[in-house]
Amino acid sequence: MIATAKLEKLLEALNSYKSSNNFVFEIQHLKELLSPDFVSVYDCILISQKSVEVLEQSFNKAIEMYGDRTGYEASNTEMRINDYIENENLNIYDILSLTMLILDCWSAKLKQIDCEAKFCFIISCDSPYVTLRYHKFRETEGTWLLEDINQYEGAVGYLII
């Protein structure tokens, strides 16, 4: 993972962290976290409950709004992990640990959908919140984040798989 010093520090601490906390989920939220509705639309893989036809119809407008496919995907796939967990007694390491698990699930699913593509997963932490998003990595568009990750002050990083 390419990460800022703040995220690296969190990830290092996570390696030795042993949680004794239990997670509480509504089953629908757990499904949305681990296996969201991925939809392929014109070389984008979005997370949406809308049909392919509906998303295709609005695709040009979406690209106009977000600038390119990378911008559209990164905005569309944003998921603040904390919102899907019922209990609030969890710390940043618990949430981060779960986020890494979700990243593994998403990458496996996405590779099933498009095994040729590279996906850029972006994790950002603004304690106590952790947000995960992704976009396909396209050479022509680059990453959603700035190339030099150290230009960010916060805890953020990306992993291209």
């Binding site: 800022t4 949406s48 809308k50 509906v54 998303l55 119809q57 609005s58 407008k61 979406a62 106009e64 709004m65 977000y66 600038g67 911008g71 990164a74 905005s75 569309n76 944003e78 603040r80 919102d83 972006i122 950002s124 603004d126 919140y129 947000t131 998003r133 959603w144 984040l145 700035l146 230009q151 960010y152 002050e153 916060g154 805890a155 953020v156």
Partner: protein, 112 residues
């Protein structure tokens, strides 16, 4: 460092004037590494601002309903719109614009 250029660039580039290539929303704003929440009402209802690459990508303000449905805030229309189609959100959703916490959150978001 904060800047009010978010608002300024909108004035410089109203929708459809063809100037979007020259001036991006939030182009001199703060680099944000993800979504920054500028106002929250309850556990999930909130306003977020994103500006990951000022000058390279447009900044973006959006609203999450309490059920986490996401709507984009259109700076020109000053309305909430569908994040995929840009069509106006239903009146039920637009009511959020009337709430004090929401207005404060939008004003704060524009300063990034």
């Amino acid at each position: 460092m904060r800047s009010t250029i978010f608002c300024k660039s909108v004035i410089m580039c109203p929708e459809g004037d063809g100037g979007a290539e020259d001036h991006r929303v939030g182009e001199n704003g703060t680099k944000l590494d993800g979504s920054k929440t500028t106002g929250q009402n309850g556990k999930t209802e909130r306003v977020d601002v994103e500006n990951p690459a000022p000058g390279k990508r447009d900044g973006d303000i959006h609203y999450h309903e309490s059920n986490n449905t996401k709507w984009r805030y259109d700076l020109n229309k000053k309305k909430l719109v569908d994040p995929d189609s840009g069509e106006l959100a239903p009146p039920r959703v637009q009511k959020a614009l009337e709430q004090d916490w929401f207005r404060k959150a939008i004003d704060k978001a524009k300063k990034y």
